[in-house]
Amino acid sequence: MFSLVQVELYKIFKRPRTYIAFGAVAALIGIIQFGLKIDGKSYLDFMLNDLSSSLEIDGKILNGYLVCYVMLQLLLVHVPLLIALIAADMISGEANMGTLRLLLIKPYSRTTLLLAKFIAAIIYTLMLLVWLAILALFGSMLLFGTDDMFLLKTSYVVLLKESDVFWRYIGAFGFAALAMTTVAALGFFLSVFAENSIGPIVATMSVIVFFTILSTLNIPIFNLIKPYLFTTHMIGWKEFFDIKVNASNEAIIGSIQNPEKIIKASLVLVAHTIGFFVATLLVFRKKDILS
């Protein structure tokens, strides 16, 4: 099993395609950091426009913590597309090359092989997130320094103490790992059905784009189905950056406003991941390999 995972990782990291994702993340983060470094003030003025008419906001608002948050907000919607690039290719790509039949005549059960491939896809996903964390969080901390984190939410603002931020990022990246694993599982599932990699990659991206739009639309009829879409839960990482207040509206350091939301979202995502994998297994074990 271990050697199977090793082989799968070897294959993933020998492909040029794999580095597209890493390159894309680096480029996007670089551009955003560059933009904010050069013209962060205009961005802040725009964001704070409404607020600064009644409040005087003083301090280093545009610090590494906020920059990372802004980037995660933008990127975590698109990272699934990069994950689909690999995960949705795991089986279909091999079918396309014809190597799937060679893998399947080796002395391993299909379940073992599938598990190894899935683990490899998850490791790739996690490595992409680690890469993202290094660049977006540590890179921004280095470039912009750290300070309190001032966050604008839809109907309120949150001020987190500098010392109360880092652990939230650990939680957020942990959660993002769960969410991205779900995406990988979806891509993996769809890749069983095709003998070319484009189909499942596009299908995975479409499902995610479609669901994300449904999750974003604020139309009552869609609100009914929102809780059942896994994309709705994928932004659960943001909950780590909401803080509880006591009776006198004073933030309680180290608290999370809705921990139950995080737990629920995590469970939904884990359930989806397991669901997708089991479905993959059921389909794949019985599948006639004609490629």
Partner: protein
């Protein structure tokens, strides 16, 4: 001689309509070069994929090395190597990397030197570090064979190994098969749509058509030039076949199932008059008895719809 592959009543249906393999039974013995002959779409690949458990049979039973395939897949696959249709490999990796991966997947740990030696055997040592993407079809085919051999299998399945190869490539494959069988004592099952190819290497062979077995036997018997293949058309072929099977002619019936249009027999030309007489005695309404001289003629006739030569 113990049998390496035992197939009983193997059937594969895709959907409800199409039967790719129909009630197929055959056996491959240790040390055989077993020719698997049939025109394209006859069910050769489907059968080979079922032998490799890539396709699940709709019905039937497969035993390899005396073990049921359905329950002993892993144990069996440790001792099997295969090249299935066009060679497949990771084009973005080098020949050496491909071989290394498949050696790891086969559970055999080989040193770099051993792997390079194996590439040398198929004449690719000089290109070991080149990306497979840059290889010609023949080179890919040779690499595919090296990959199939990496676990030193006892049974080797080659599905149309000469497809797309130039004459030299075809000759190389032929020599390789003979070498595997004669020098290394391996059992080889090789499929082709060309009788001439099979004829030169096979010790035993089977001809299938539309998923049905037409002929199975030792090459030396089937290619016996002193005998003639005859095609007998009767009013009721099924009945005629049943009746003939009861007689001493049954040994000479080539095609005993699946083909109710004709009865195919292989016999000495001199026996023809007595066959005629017997058919009349058995009350079989004979329409025609057509001698075809050799198995090749017969095979060409089956495959003539696709115009191969």
């Amino acid at each position: 001689m113990s049998s390496v592959i035992q197939v009983q009543g193997l059937t594969k249906k895709f959907g409800h309509q199409f039967t790719a393999v129909n009630d197929l039974s055959f056996s491959v013995n240790q040390g055989d070069v077993y020719g698997f002959l049939g025109q394209n779409g006859a069910g050769k690949s489907t059968t080979i994929r079922m032998l490799l458990s890539l396709i699940e049979p709709t019905a039937g039973h497969i035993e390899i090395f005396g073990l049921p395939l359905a329950t002993n897949r892993s144990a069996i696959m440790k001792k099997v190597g295969a090249v299935i249709e066009k060679p497949a490999m990771y084009e973005y990796l080098t020949a050496y990397q491909n071989l290394k991966i498949f050696s790891a997947l086969s559970g055999v740990s080989k040193t770099r030197l051993q792997l390079l030696h194996e590439l040398d055997v198929v004449g690719l040592a000089a290109r070991a570090n080149d990306l497979v993407r840059t290889f010609s079809q023949g080179m890919k085919q040779r690499l595919a064979i090296a990959m199939a051999m990496v676990n030193d299998p006892e049974l080797i399945l080659l599905d149309e190994p000469t497809n797309g190869l130039d004459p030299q490539g075809i000759a190389d494959i032929r020599n390789l098969i003979l070498n595997l069988s004669r020098e290394q004592g391996k059992t080889v099952l090789v499929s082709s749509h060309l009788l001439s190819e099979i004829e030169q290497v096979a010790t035993r062979l089977i001809i299938i058509d539309k998923g049905c077995k037409l002929v199975e036997g030792d090459s030396k018997d089937l290619f016996d030039t002193s005998k003639t293949v005859v095609e007998i058309n009767t009013l009721h072929n099924e009945q005629a076949l049943q009746k003939l099977l009861q007689t001493s002619w049954s040994d000479q019936i080539l095609v005993d199932r699946c083909n109710s249009k004709q009865v195919i027999m292989q016999l000495d030309e001199k026996q023809l008059p007595s066959l005629h007489q017997n058919l009349v005695e058995l009350g079989i309404g004979v329409l025609s008895v057509k001698p075809m001289h050799s198995l090749e003629d017969y095979f060409l006739q089956i495959t003539s719809t696709q115009k191969y030569v």
